[in-house]
């Protein structure tokens, strides 16, 4: 029923060792492409395979993906420029996060990457001013639901998502990088202080903080949705570190040391030389990350649901989790 080997394994192998695609047959190519699209890594794969011998029929498909990725990056940089224009009068240091930051700084992690929303980090005490300026420049709330709004403001690490009325692009304004309730409390002020300027307005996090943020986003907060993409980011970011030593100290400062070490092991297991020894918990995470079949469908549903519950659990202390889930349940939220 699964339609050949787990396609996610094909995808990871192709990113780790691009030459390996020259041994794939048509069925394996179909699995590789379906998984790459489902994991939104088709652009990254296409850039990685540039110049490789690929079957005639796969060539235009990969060329399309590279063109799309280029346009994606330009669209993301334009959103960053619009946010800069909207916030210029506040004199607030505007720190770009995740995909937009990688694209703006020309990092390897940004090559071919799917970017989607614009994520920015601003000092917490400037949140209201930033919100007002974005409103004035044409952004609006995505979901005007009072309960969500209050929940976001109190417990989440970001404003509720906003969308620009005419450009239909979303922006997430963060004031720290993890929900306030999470056990780990990364030092956002230190991150902003160490941010690296790209030009006179836009900044990105320091090399070490970029890794810590990507790790925090993936392990501490997420249910590992988009995990393969996030770990590819982490693999590239770690590889680009000028010097690996400061990362450990920085991770310890943000209370993320064990997570950064796990991320390093996972990145090595998926995309690296696969020399680091894995824990049993690592192996469970890997099973969840590779749960996709040759048709691009999600498999191991129970394992996936367990991680879904885990992501809520990590986001808030038990008592609040119960109240939050009860409120959502009463309002009709049923996990699909």
């Amino acid at each position: 029923m699964g339609g050949g080997p787990l396609s996610a394994a094909l995808l990871v192998a192709a990113l780790r060792d691009p030459a390996s695609v020259e041994r794939l047959d048509a069925a394996q190519w179909n699995g590789l492409i379906a998984a790459a699209r489902a994991e939104r890594l088709i652009g990254t794969l296409a850039v990685r395979l540039e110049g490789r011998a690929v079957p005639e029929t796969a060539r235009p498909l990969l060329a399309d993906a590279r063109l799309d990725a280029g346009r994606e990056a330009r669209g993301a940089l334009w959103e960053a420029d619009r946010a800069r224009a909207a916030l210029a009068s506040l004199g607030v240091p505007l720190v770009l996060l995740k995909g937009t930051a990688y694209a703006a700084a020309g990092l390897r992690a940004g090559q071919g990457r799917f970017i989607g929303d614009l994520d920015i980090l601003v000092p917490r005490d400037q949140l209201d001013a930033v919100e007002a300026a974005l409103f004035a420049a044409g952004w609006e709330w995505v979901k005007p639901d009072p309960y969500d709004d209050a929940y976001y403001r109190r417990w989440m690490h970001e404003l509720p998502p906003m969308i620009h009325a005419t450009r239909d692009r979303m922006i997430d304004v963060h004031h720290t990088i993890l929900p306030l309730t999470a056990r780990q409390t990364p030092d956002a002020t230190a991150m902003i202080a160490q941010a690296v300027p790209l030009d006179d307005d836009l900044h990105i996090l320091s090399p070490e903080d970029r890794v810590c943020h990507a790790v925090a986003h993936l392990l501490a907060d997420g249910d590992l949705a988009g995990g393969l993409r996030n770990i590819w980011d982490i693999y590239c970011l770690i590889a680009d570190l000028p010097d690996p030593v400061p990362l450990e100290a920085r991770a310890r400062r943000h209370g993320l040391l064990s997570h950064v070490r796990q991320a390093r092991r996972l990145a090595d297991a998926l995309y690296g030389q696969r020399r680091l020894r894995l824990t049993s918990w690592d192996r469970i995470v890997l099973r969840r990350l590779l749960a996709r079949d040759g048709w691009g469908r999600e498999t191991r549903k129970l394992l996936r649901f367990a991680f879904f519950l885990r992501s809520h659990w990590l986001r808030m202390p038990p008592l609040m989790l119960a109240r939050h889930l009860w409120t959502k349940w009463r309002k009709g939220h049923r996990p699909r």
Binding site: M1, I33, R297
Partner: protein, 287 residues
């Protein structure tokens, strides 16, 4: 997925997987004479999945998805399985195609030049194309026209023509049964029956040709012809294209060249016969 088929329509190759054999049997029969895909690597994967775990037995219904999908997609009854497969393929083209500017338009070719007709579903563009396809024109497509970004030529996407309601009687009467799909009653758009394009249209599906005339047909109104200004034509074509914005500058250049070279008219007609006479007359004037 237990059942699968690969097929090629114009430049696009599809891999269609299904939880049931029925829809793929129809596809295999109706696409039998299409040029085969170059190899089994597909541009797109389409999946016809169970719309719920009970749906295998209780009122079986299909959830259409694939590389691209729409969360709001309505489940479809298994009886409409062939339509679900066609829609699945259309959805991948609409959301994913980048090799040409995709126009939600029908197109037919005669003497090496192409007539393009665009308009909302129900405007008559598909029926008119199907009728012209039976009257000496080469049908290139009833749903999508592919505008080449470099040459400006139109390329074909000759999927099965979906005849709706009255059009079924108008056309199905004088075509051999082997070119007709099953009668699908009570779909969201009424009764639908699929028609295989004529053999030469299928055989020549890879031949592009330059566009000579663009029409905005409107079925069910008194006969009338109005030229459409370039600015309005441009705007309406951007709204009839699912990938205009995604293509960036090449899309802008291709569409600008199209509207500055191809004359455009809005035509109203009460029925098919007036429409065909009107089209033949405007076609003669346009050359």
């Amino acid at each position: 997925m237990t059942h699968a088929i690969s097929l090629r329509i114009g430049p696009a190759t599809f891999r269609v997987g299904s939880a049931w054999p029925g829809p793929l049997r129809d596809l295999a029969r109706l696409y039998a004479d299409y040029p085969a895909p170059l190899d089994a690597i597909a541009d797109y994967t389409v999946r016809l999945e169970l719309a719920g775990w009970a749906r295998r037995w209780v009122r079986p219904s299909i959830f259409i998805t694939g590389d691209h999908g729409l969360a709001d997609a309505a489940p479809m009854s298994l009886a409409h399985g062939l339509l679900a497969a066609e829609m699945g393929m259309n959805l991948q083209m609409a959301l994913g195609w980048r090799r040409h500017l995709l126009l939600h338009a029908s197109s037919v070719e005669k003497d090496g030049r192409v007539l393009v007709m665009t308009g909302e579903s129900g405007s008559g563009k598909s029926t008119l194309a199907a009728q012209l396809g039976e009257r000496g024109w080469r049908l290139m497509g009833d749903e999508f026209a592919l505008l080449d970004l470099h040459s400006g030529d139109i390329f074909a996407f000759p999927r099965l023509i979906s005849l709706k309601n009255r059009a079924i009687d108008v056309i199905a009467g004088d075509v051999p049964a082997s070119r007709l799909g099953p009668m699908l009653r009570g779909t969201a758009k009424g009764d639908i029956r699929h028609l295989v394009p004529r053999a030469d249209a299928v055989a020549r599906m890879d031949e592009g040709a330059p566009p000579a005339l663009l029409l905005f047909p409107r079925f069910g109104h008194a006969v009338d012809v109005r030229p459409v200004a370039q600015g309005e034509t441009f705007m309406r074509l951007t709204q009839a294209s699912t990938n205009y914005v995604a293509l960036g500058e090449p899309g802008f250049a291709a569409l600008t060249r199209f509207v500055t070279h191809v004359p455009a008219c809005a035509i109203d007609f009460p029925s098919g016969d007036e429409a065909i006479a009107l089209v033949e007359q405007l076609w003669a004037e346009a050359l």
